[in-house]
């Protein structure tokens, strides 16, 4: 049993109805395979993966179909065996509703595995680099929703050593229970994954932060720790307060340390990983399995049989909903993620990706349409609840005025978009929407600036080249002229002079002869 540990607290936060019991009453169910699997090339933060298969090619389960072209990227594997029937634009789960490049696989029903790498049973005798390579091969990304490539995150790059490994099991957002049921089902694997990550980063201790509304999951983890006999891993139960599962908030709760603005947890010697990610790491290292499926919560009053499902990546969301009993008459809006941070899906043909933690088919009562926005009355409620200690109304003010320098002065980029400010706003201002607007505008400006820098460099290089060519042409002309002059100065000139001299001599001779003739005739 873990001894009671001092807990710190973060600023603000909200007590919300957790709505967990709708979906966490049954264990994880396996979802059958659909007729086609759509794998977007962009399921993670970083560069798009590059397809390494062609249309018509037969692929085996677990085969790499798209590889990571860059360091910050993640490869994608076939979730089952079958044939690649298309590589092209398909609906993806994205707030824009835009399509993006996907590899479409038609399962052959055999579900036959490709040759997998050897399991690494004795991971403690392996180097951190080898284990990172395995995680990288498996295409693992943060499964909490941010989808940052895990192999990059666990590479501390020889900077400040990691002191504390924080495992995020808080799952603070209402409705979502995929980590909760995963902990009940796979607690030993989670502990294995934690030990592997601890070995990679060399962390002294590990703290698993879990909210007090998941006592069974906490107990399952404690028992798994007892079995593993690793006394440096501790389960720390934190009070249920949204958003305690935010990375920076959880680190503050457990260690009392604050992640610096524009900084990373690694700057204060902390690394944070989601529980589901640690289970995927255990699969990759101890079993040689790539990341080809994940647990997804399907919930809300808009779906008939809410629950948690192990879904193959690429399964259409519409198929997932059908398998959980289909839409009930009350479905009003389909959200990806929870009610606080999720976004509305435009198309339920979009597939489940590595970042899909929850599908919330919300009824009108659960997701009432936005109330008309009214002017800000400067009540300061948003400041009270902001877990990032920001001034939401000031950021809103400047975002609304398109003043992107000022919003950054007010630390817009420390905003975690948790939605607390918009939730309490009595004027119903869609505050998070303003922040997202400002963030994407600033990113666009930054991209344009980079593009114009590139254009300037290329233009300068071209000017320089044109000038150099002109100089070279002139110097070539000059040289040619000089050569010509020299030539005429030597041989040609001499022969000309000789010819002139000869002619003059002839004339002089003629004259002399003529003179002599006249003289003789005169005499």
């Amino acid at each position: 049993m873990a001894e009671p540990r001092k807990l710190w607290s973060f600023h603000g936060g909200l007590h919300l109805d957790d709505h967990k019991s709708e979906s966490n009453q049954r264990p994880v169910q396996h979802m059958p395979l659909p007729d086609r699997l759509t794998l977007p090339l962009h399921q993670h933060i970083g560069q798009n993966a590059e397809p390494v298969v062609r249309v018509g090619e037969l692929v085996k389960k677990g085969q790499v179909v798209a590889r990571a072209p860059d360091y910050v990227s993640a490869s994608i594997h076939a979730p089952t065996s079958g044939q690649v029937i298309e590589i092209g634009d398909q609906p993806i789960p994205h707030p824009s509703g835009l399509n993006d490049t996907c590899i479409v696989i038609e399962p052959d029903g055999q579900d036959s595995w490709t040759e997998l790498p050897e399991p690494i049973r004795h991971f403690r005798s392996e180097t951190a680099a080898d284990l990172r390579d395995r995680i990288r091969w498996a295409g693992i990304v943060g499964l909490g929703g941010a989808a940052f490539p895990t192999a990059v995150k666990v590479n501390t790059g020889g900077g400040r050593p990691i002191d504390t490994l924080v495992i995020n099991a808080a799952e603070c957002e209402p409705y979502i229970t995929c980590d909760d049921v995963l902990m009940l089902e796979r607690a030993p694997d989670i502990i294995d994954g934690i030990e592997i990550i601890r070995h990679i980063v060399g962390a002294r201790e590990c703290l698993i932060g879990i909210e007090d509304n998941k006592p069974e999951a906490a107990e399952a983890l404690r028992q798994a720790i007892v079995r593993s006999a690793d006394s440096d891993i501790q389960v720390v139960v934190v009070p249920t307060l949204y958003p305690s599962g935010g990375e920076k908030q959880l680190i503050r709760l457990l260690t009392g340390q604050e992640v610096p603005s524009h900084g990373l947890p690694a700057d204060i010697g902390v690394l944070c990983q989601n529980v589901a990610t640690t289970a995927a790491v255990a699969d990759a290292v101890l079993r040689g399995l790539p990341l080809i499926d994940r647990v997804v919560t399907v919930t809300g009053q808009g779906v008939r049989q809410p629950g948690n499902f192990r879904v193959a990546l690429g399964t259409p969301i519409e198929f997932v909903i059908t398998q959980s009993g289909g839409y009930s008459g009350e479905a009003h809006e389909l959200l990806l993620g929870g009610p606080m941070m999720g976004f509305a899906l435009h198309d339920d043909q979009a597939p489940v990706t590595k970042a899909t933690n929850c599908l919330l088919a919300a009824s009108l009562q659960e997701a009432p349409g936005p109330e008309p926005e009214r002017p800000c009355i400067r009540c300061g409620e948003c400041v009270e609840v902001c877990p990032a200690d920001l001034l939401p109304q000031q950021i809103f003010w400047h975002a609304r005025a398109h003043d992107f320098d000022r919003v950054q002065e007010y630390h817009l980029f420390d905003c975690i978009e948790c939605g607390c400010c918009a939730y309490v706003c009595p004027a119903h201002i869609p505050l998070v929407h303003y922040y997202r607007y400002a963030k994407t505008e600033i990113w666009t400006l930054e991209r344009e600036r980079q593009k114009s820098d590139l254009a300037r460099r290329r233009h300068d290089a071209r000017q320089e080249r044109l000038e150099r060519l002109e100089r070279e042409r002139k110097s070539r002309l000059r040289k040619k002229k000089e050569a010509l002059d020299k030539k005429s100065g030597s041989s040609a000139d001499a022969s000309k002079k000789a010819a002139i001299a000869a002619a003059m001599k002839r004339v002089a001779d003629k004259k002399a002869a003529h003179k002599a003739e006249t003289q003789t005739s005169d005499s």
Binding site: H42, I92, H94, P95, S96, L98, D100, P370, P372, E373, R374, P375, C376, I377, R378, R400, P430, H433, Y434, R436, Y437, K439, T440, E441, T444, L445, R447, E448, K451, S452, D453, L454, A455, R456, R458, H459, A461, R462
Partner: protein, 185 residues
């Protein structure tokens, strides 16, 4: 009287020497104001400002010979940034219509291209690849959309394709329900 004149003259000499020395020692190459202006311009090198590129326009603004509202690709954002940098008042754009054009890149219809290289010579950022009597093509990532390659093409096989948003470049729209009146705090 003499002492006062000598003191002032002495001081003047000393300061003159210091100023003269620093003018040589700390001499700034180029025109820093023009550099700062150039950094704000979009570098399309399109010449719509009637200058031969972004740098000449920046130099003209720095010399006070040109207004700050003549860059359609930069649009209002650039004009306001220039106004802030130079402490001038914002002015309406010279060519509003051109400024509202969506961003586009040149596209060569390869079946029609005769390989004359005229567009390659016109491109200010070397974004067109090709050789004489060989098909040409535009390097999309490097194209600034300046349209300078359009007039020289003898077979009119270059078209401008508007850049479409991808999920990576997509921007959240400005919230639609903004109230018309805001109580000022």
């Amino acid at each position: 009287m003499i002492a006062a004149i000598l003191t002032i003259a002495g001081l003047a000499t000393v300061f003159g020497l210091i100023l003269g020395y620093s003018a040589i020692r700390f001499r700034v190459e180029g025109d820093p104001i023009a550099d700062q202006i150039d950094a704000l311009l979009p570098q399309t090198q399109c010449g719509q400002c009637s200058f031969a590129g972004c740098r000449p326009y920046a130099e003209a603004i720095a010399a006070g010979e040109a207004e700050i509202n003549r860059c359609p690709p930069g649009g209002e954002t650039t004009m306001i940034a220039l106004a802030e940098l130079l402490g001038r008042d914002p002015v309406p754009l010279d060519d509003e219509e051109a400024a509202e054009k969506p961003k586009a890149v040149a596209y060569i219809v390869e079946e029609e291209c005769i390989g004359c290289t005229l567009c390659i010579q016109a491109c200010p950022v070397d974004a067109i690849m090709g050789a004489a009597k060989q098909m040409h093509t535009v390097i999309v990532d490097e194209c600034t959309g300046c349209e300078l390659c359009l007039p020289p093409c003898p077979v009119e096989c270059i078209h401008m394709h508007p850049l479409e948003a991808t999920p990576q470049t997509w921007k959240w729209p400005f919230p639609a329900q903004a109230p018309s009146e805001v109580v000022n705090g």
